[in-house]
């Protein structure tokens, strides 16, 4: 067999020595153990992993709360409170508290619980959760986007990696990106070129610091959370524009300039749309805004008045433009600008842009959910839970979390909005830059001004829970309910009557579906 001529030095079989051999051995053993399992039960494993993550996070929450309760219970020791390090409880006290509450294994458990009374340790745990979430959301949204795109275009999308519908395709891509060479064009502005991906990615993480997932599920409860998140989304754009400029490539600069135009103009209607729910509630704290929508479907701010209903739609359009999603994906339009602002990037830096983009998509969906779509509350009113007599036991709280309010509802709603963004991207064609600006300045902006003024007058002159108010509220809720039920019906119908691909590619069932 003749060896093909390759530009790199041909090497034999890779030989590892020392610690590398150990790591490689562990990796091989893990692969040998888990690959057959993953291949045999991919679906159950995926669903099981999701459930396990949810249960794990919830147990973490309960542990934190338990520590808090014990801290409050032993309030005798609070006088000598210290600051960043040095907690109020000694190890012995934790053990004693555990023994009196009858928790088994208190001798070992106290060592686990003792550090958790420090804010620093909890912050580290919570931040690990946030970083994990930010890593997983883009990975699976990208995979999902490719699957949806495939279905919409009569293809199958990724099918091979991982076995079941290519579920680990994104992870494989990630490993490939990490191993790629990190190129910087010779004529680029090197420091700015290297800085730009961080400026695009880090603000997306920081936005999650203030984004609540539930009444108590927030890293920092900032009283100006909304303004803070908008600021973070704004900084992200600077990263994109710097990337385009520093690449010293005319297509990249075109992309960056388009992004700048789009951002500067669409920020205004977006901010005005967000003002309307803020006006309803009277607070910039997202937790407060979310908690006003606890009384079920009709109490969601989107159904409060015709103006909030229109504002929700307008906000979503502006948010699409802000995240440079189709039909507003001019900054990276593949067909004209190669890849726009990230043409010159490769490897890990390139993937940072994508992590930033998908994290920002989640953040704008989250804002939409909190400000308009009932935040972390389900369509069932919370007062129903009290009527059922659900107390504060762990089981009752699990039922509450599943049926009434909880981070699960928040994430589910956000994931639905992510799906809508993907759906729009593969349905609508890209519009021209003059159409983008026309749509903003001559359509959205006047519309938002009318809505803002109209809602101010509505709040002033239409008495809350009066006749007109109630009629509007019920009609709008009904429209929303019809829309959601219709979507569920169509999705179910499509699922039951699914036939592989259309046209000459038509098969009865897709492989692996």
């Amino acid at each position: 067999m003749t060896r093909m001529s390759v530009p790199w030095r041909p090497g034999g079989k890779q030989v590892h020595r020392g610690p590398a051999a150990l790591v490689a051995g562990i990796a091989k053993a893990l692969y040998a153990t888990f690959a057959p399992l993953v291949r045999a039960f991919p679906g159950p494993l995926l669903i099981g992993a999701i459930v396990a993550v949810i249960v794990g996070v919830w147990i973490n929450y309960l542990v934190f709360e338990f520590v808090d309760d014990s801290l409050v219970a032993s309030s005798t020791n609070l006088a000598g409170e210290t600051g960043l390090l040095g907690g109020p409880l000694a190890l012995g006290e934790v053990r004693a508290g555990l023994t009196t509450s009858g928790v088994p294994g208190s001798g070992i458990l106290c060592y686990v619980l003792y550090p958790l009374q420090y804010g620093v340790v909890r912050d580290v745990v919570s931040m690990g959760g946030i970083l994990g979430f930010i890593s997983v959301i883009p990975l699976y949204t990208i995979w999902w986007e490719r699957k949806v795109a495939g279905r919409i275009q009569s293809r199958t999308g990724p099918m091979r990696v991982g076995g079941w519908h290519g579920w680990s395709q994104s992870m494989a891509d990630g490993i490939k990106l990490i191993c790629k060479e990190d190129l910087c064009p010779a004529s680029a502005d090197r420091p700015l070129f290297k800085l730009a991906p961080y400026l695009a990615f880090v603000p997306a993480i920081l936005a999650f610091f203030a984004l609540p997932f539930g009444t108590y599920w927030v890293f920092r409860q900032v009283d100006v959370a909304l303004v803070f998140i908008l600021a973070m989304l704004g900084i992200e754009v600077i990263g994109v524009i710097l990337a385009g400029w520093a690449s010293n490539n005319k297509w990249s600069v075109y992309g960056a300039m388009r992004e700048a135009c789009q951002m500067v103009s669409y920020e205004i209607p977006m901010g005005m749309a967000l003002l309307i729910p803020i006006m309803v509630v009277g607070s910039l704290s997202l937790t407060t805004v979310g908690d006003t929508q606890s009384e079920g479907w009709t109490s969601w701010i989107v159904f409060r008045s015709p103006f909030t209903f229109a504002a929700a739609v307008a906000y979503f359009v502006a948010a699409l433009a802000n995240c440079k999603r189709a039909p507003f994906d001019l900054p990276e339009s593949e067909s004209e600008l190669v890849a726009g602002f990230h043409t010159e990037y490769s490897g890990f830096r390139w993937s940072l842009f994508f992590f930033g983009e998908y994290a920002a998509m989640f953040v704008v969906s989250g804002l939409c959910v909190i400000l308009f779509l009932g935040a972390w509350y389900s369509p069932l009113p919370m007062s129903l839970a009290d009527r059922w007599g659900l107390g504060d036991s762990v089981g009752a709280r699990a039922i509450k979390g599943l049926l009434f309010a909880g981070p699960l509802w928040f994430v589910a709603k956000c994931v639905f909005l992510l799906y809508v963004q993907i759906w729009i991207r593969w349905t609508l064609p890209r519009i021209r830059i003059d159409q983008v600006l026309y749509a903003c300045i001559q359509v959205l902006l006047p519309l938002m001004m009318v809505l803002l003024l109209g809602h101010t007058l509505y709040e002033l002159f239409v008495p809350v829970h009066g006749f007109v108010w109630t009629v509007f509220n019920l009609v709008l809720s009904l429209i929303g309910a019809v829309f959601v039920l219709g979507m569920i019906f169509i999705a179910t119908y499509g699922f039951w009557n699914r036939v592989g691909l259309v046209g000459s590619l038509g098969v009865e069932t897709l492989p692996g579906s």
Partner: protein
């Protein structure tokens, strides 16, 4: 020849990301956000206790970390400000300026002025954006147009800055800074809004009218000439 590229060093980049995040976390931990509840959801009692803590004389470790962060971000502000003056490319200048404004925003966060910090970021992020656009427009003929100043300009500017600097230092040393016995209460956004619409209504309205004039002027300048 592989050019100037090299293998991706993942750990280095992750460290940069982690560094940014750690800095942000530290400022949020020390910044004493008015309702600094953790993800765990402190009970009302615990939150109440946190309020009492804020009112109590600042405990030593907290104050040390706070001043360390102050010097860190104050230093970053200084370095960025010098960078604005030293750089010769417009876009780099704008980037340094953004760094300086961001560091100032972090200082506001450290003082508990969350609204001011967030608004600083929003307004100046947009402002820097416009600066970069101007930079690109101004340097459209050649990508690396440099701003060189003449010797006399350098000395004139240096003289003015030197005099101002000396004046500031004299003021700083001469002032008798009072040390408050209790940490001041953080200003909530409601208090801020109320002050803006009662005590400071006239300056607020004047600023709004000024902005309106600017907007009309810009629209007039940008308007297409109708033949």
């Amino acid at each position: 020849m592989t050019g100037r590229g090299r293998e991706t060093m993942l750990h280095g980049k992750s460290l940069v990301v982690v560094g940014f995040v750690l800095a942000a976390w530290a400022s949020s931990a020390i910044g004493q956000f008015p309702l600094a509840e953790e993800m765990s959801g402190q009970t009302v009692d615990a939150a109440h206790r946190a309020d009492e803590q804020v009112l109590a004389p600042s405990p030593v470790p907290n104050a040390t970390v706070e001043s360390a962060l102050f010097y860190l971000f104050g230093g970053a502000l200084l370095v960025s400000a010098i960078g604005v003056c030293v750089c010769k490319s417009v876009v780099r200048m704008a980037t340094w300026l953004f760094g300086a404004l961001g560091a100032a925003a972090v200082l506001y966060f450290l003082m508990g002025a969350t609204f001011l910090g967030a608004i600083q970021l929003i307004v100046y992020a947009g402002g820097t954006l416009i600066l970069i656009i101007f930079g690109v427009m101004l340097t459209s003929k050649s990508p690396w147009v440099r701003f060189e100043c003449r010797r006399i300009e350098f000395w004139a500017a240096g003289g003015v800055v030197g005099v101002l600097f000396c004046a500031l230092i004299t003021l700083l040393v001469g002032t008798d800074w009072p040390t408050p016995a209790v940490a001041p209460q953080p200003v909530t956004i409601a208090m801020f809004g109320e002050a803006l619409l009662t005590t400071y209504l006239v300056p607020f309205e004047v600023a709004s009218v000024l902005l309106l004039v600017v907007m009309i002027g810009a629209a007039y300048l940008a308007r297409q000439e109708r033949s």
